[in-house]
């Protein structure tokens, strides 16, 4: 009976995700005078309407790809003429796909655009219901409460089998389309339109779609966490916390602010993860929005300068990474089934240290240039165009690393690829955690049996056992304090705790129970 319910759930999820994916092909696009004028400014309308309305994009209903190609063709061709004529004020600087996206949004026709509510139910609705049906029977199927990692390495989905590769491919495709091809994903934005209208009183766009998807996925997977870890209050509280901060802070508050025509802000996002906080458009927005804007600016600065060091000192970086952060929130819910796939080798650790600190340096330099440009008004620093650096950072780090790789590689490289190798805020938090914090994972004397559960299930790829079997506390900059090492330990060896700095690093651990062998100095071996 329970088995059947999970199967029905799975079928619903697969159907809903398939329909969602296929919805791209269900919509047609045809440009009219009206839809064009809705999408662009009067000036652009005058510049391009003749060519666009004479093109195939206007003569017939095209699919997303054909429509985009037509529009982009016209844009690129006209831009080239203006550039050749050095008529710089006529050139339209939008990226071609963004420009095509705007036109596609107002020109969409077909079943999705006509019945967004129905499609919202058939995709998000059924995926949600299916997900819950798939997960809920585990209360009974998993047996009495307790961590059950049975078959994690037997299953194709969690052990890099073909299911993992299918999920991987889907996630990569989703992120690439979402970030770089808004013109192909109009159907998705349309599907979430009813929710967007309800929450922010505006039609859906791709960023609303992303936030809505994020929250839906996290909610379903949080239910899974509640069941899997129901014997462990730390996990229950932590899951509730990340879910709350995602839904309220990252999603609802900014969207509702936007409903009331206020500048939206994710009040828990901190520079340098929030890499465009100091970008001139953002500073201008904050500075032109009176006391609210000023509050946003001061709040953002307080988070960077005060909250990070103080809270990390008292609680470790976990206060952010596994209790508050959105990236962490997704990793701790959607990513939990994949946590065991992180690479534990010394080599991976080495790459991690080089990579994450390089990204931090990149973010600091990029922001430094940004501020220099903002205050001095010169667009170049030492011959390098600030805007170019910002764009490069946004593309490479903000989109490709954090999104496409960060989430896309869940089923292959584990849930914290971005957090471990790329997040500049994690690097900053980690430096504080390493050098000035009360947080540690205490090893319980000599109780370790070297079984390896802790290392295997560390999403950050820390070889926890290396320390535990030596009786040594774990103080690592990358530890996000998810607490799963402690949860899966069969001998009660590990405890996350905040205590005096003095007792944190036990460099000369005594493995309790060997009076005769006194202190041992395990420096290399």
């Amino acid at each position: 009976m329970m088995k059947q319910i999970t199967q029905i759930g799975l079928i619903l999820v697969v159907f809903a995700v398939s329909l969602f994916s296929a919805s791209i092909f269900l919509s047609k696009y045809q440009l009219t005078e009206k839809s064009l004028s809705e999408a662009v400014s009067t000036q652009v309308y005058e510049q391009l309407s003749a060519e666009l309305l004479a093109s195939k994009a206007s003569n017939q209903a095209l699919n997303a790809f054909e429509f985009s190609a037509e529009v982009r063709g016209v844009l690129v061709e006209k831009n080239q003429i203006w550039k050749d004529a050095e008529a710089w004020d006529l050139v339209i600087w939008d990226s071609p796909h963004d420009f095509a996206g705007k036109l596609a949004m107002s020109s969409v026709i077909g079943p999705v655009a006509e019945n967004p509510g129905l499609f919202l139910f058939l995709t998000f609705g059924l995926a949600f219901i299916g997900g819950i049906l798939y997960i809920l029977p585990n209360v009974i199927l998993l047996g009495p409460p307790g961590i059950k990692n049975n078959h994690v390495f037997h299953q194709k989905s969690t052990n890099r089998g073909w299911i993992a590769w299918v999920v991987f491919t889907w996630l990569i495709a989703f992120y690439i389309l979402l970030y770089f091809f808004p013109d192909y994903t109009i159907s998705w934005a349309k599907i979430t339109s009813p929710a967007s209208e309800f929450i922010k009183n505006k039609p859906g766009d791709r960023w609303f779609l992303y936030g809505f998807t994020y929250c839906t996925v996290m909610t379903v997977m949080a239910v899974r966490m509640y069941i899997k870890y129901r014997n462990n209050r730390y996990q229950i509280f932590r899951t509730s916390s990340v879910l709350f901060f995602q839904i309220a802070f990252a999603f609802l508050i900014p969207e509702i602010m936007s409903r009331f025509n206020m500048p939206g802000m994710d009040f828990k996002n901190i520079w340098p993860l929030d890499y465009d906080f100091f970008f001139s458009w953002n500073l201008d927005t904050m500075l032109s929005n009176g006391s609210l804007g000023l509050f946003m600016l001061v709040w953002g600065l307080i988070l960077i300068i005060v909250a990070v060091p103080v809270l990390v000192y008292f609680f470790g970086k976990r206060w952010y990474c596994s209790w508050v952060c959105g990236c962490g929130g997704l990793a701790e819910t959607l990513g939990d089934p994949y946590r065991q796939l992180s690479d534990k080798s010394l080599k991976a650790w080495k790459i991690e240290r080089y990579l994450i600190h390089s990204v931090l340096v990149f973010a600091v330099i990029m922001t430094g240039m940004t501020l220099y440009t903002f205050f001095s008004g010169t667009s170049e620093v030492m011959g390098i165009e600030t805007q170019q650096i910002q764009k490069t950072y946004g593309f490479l780090i903000g989109s490709v690393f954090a999104g496409v790789i960060g989430t896309g590689f869940y089923p292959i490289m584990g849930s914290r690829t971005w957090c471990r190798f790329g997040c500049p805020l994690a690097a900053y938090l980690g430096l504080v955690q390493k050098f000035k914090s009360r947080f540690r994972i205490t090893t319980n004397g000599g109780q370790c049996i070297s079984c390896g559960n802790c290392s295997t299930y560390c999403e950050q790829g820390i070889d926890v056992r290396w320390y535990a079997q030596r009786g040594q506390n774990i103080v690592r900059s990358s530890c996000v304090g998810c607490g799963v090492c402690s949860a899966v330990c069969p001998r009660g060896v590990l405890k996350l705790e905040n205590g005096p700095e003095g007792g944190r690093m036990n460099d000369n651990p005594i493995l309790i129970g060997k009076d005769s062998a006194s202190l041992s100095h395990f420096s290399e071996i």
């Binding site: 205490t442 049996i449 607490g483 949860a487 060997k514 005769s516 062998a517």
Partner: protein, 455 residues
Amino acid sequence: MRHVAIIGNGISGVTVARNLRKGDSNVRITLISAESPYFFSRTALMYVYMGHMKFEHTQPYESGFWKKNRIDLIQDYVQSLEFESKTLQFSSGKSLKYDELVIATGSKPNRFGWPGQDLKGVQGLYSFQDLQLLEENTHPPLCKEKDRKVKNAVIVGGGLIGVELAEMLMSRNIQVHFLVRESKFWGNVLTEAEGDLISAELRHHGVNLMMNTELKEIQGNSEGRVESIIDSHGNTIACEFVGLTAGVSPNIDFMKGTKLAVDRGIIVDEYLQTNIDSVYALGDCAQFSTAPAGRRNIEQVWYTGRMMGEVLAKTLLGEQTSYNPGPWFNSAKFFEIEYQTYGQVSSIPEENEARFYWEHENGDKAMTLVFDSKSRLFIGLNVFGIRLRHEMMDRWLRNGVSVDYVLEHLSDANFDPEFYQKHEKSIINQFNTEFSTNVVPKRKSWKRILGKIGA
């Protein structure tokens, strides 16, 4: 160059090798094992079978570790020992000369000559090869119901490996019938109430626990495969698998008949020295001629193997050191109930002892405190479903504190994850009622935990 050869790459042998290398960068070290090329955690084999881990995850060191630290690995079986010429003969035909020999060959599962114990589908669980055999003897994980070749399994012997094997088999939808000779579970170690607690946990997970029941005979079919057993009450239980987990004994067969003095294990003195010069033995396979104070003469747990390894490495490094393990501790997990023990808690109270038993109303947490009824000296405790801080327990046992002190400062010793429900008050209230005391719990103090104040 001085050459130390170590037979056995379990926790004992590996600890010797590592600590030896740490103290001497010149000595040549060879680790020999027929079982596996690299050291792995034996206690983690169950997790490989259940799919929590891959076998490689049970290896605490990357394969490059051994080369980097110049510890030579030989995967071969030692056929014979020639003590005069200090030579090992391998079954591959090769041989190896040594200057000092360390024997750490561990244990093997007990077999008591049961009729049918050599049938197919009957096995113990100790080595990597046993794990492979178990994979052969049972069906693959997640297979369809009709393909499950083992529907019922019988496990004989109510100890820790038996419980682990039960959990493993249950993960593949095999009904487990667990034969336990004693009237209480793990009756020679746990108290009656604790045995009941664990029994209830096993039954809760679906194990068919049969107390006061022994194995009489294993019956096979025409293909020589087990098809049923007969128990001591004359009942027949149909089964396709039998797990023999009635303890382990030292794995020393190939040393019998040599000059090496053996009894149940290899006889060693307090320095782990055998009767032959330059030959040492430790871990599961060693038997102390005189047991350390308050301990058994054969100790077959992970921790003691590690401690003996550290001691022997010191001796080999020139600082002769006796095995002096300090307060006893151990731990285990029975399905979802974690167990820790510190100090001396025997299954039956000694004459001078008073005992206190607390159990949570859910039946998944419990604590037994043992103390001297006159002096109130804290002697030891068993704890189930609650984690305690090893360092505190160790310090209290060494410093000889009273049971009242232990209860008063129980919060210092709590090692449960954050936000877990605390039980100190409930424990202390019950204690106060039973013993007419007035122990008042103190709040957790980091100063005490770090040893800056207090006992």
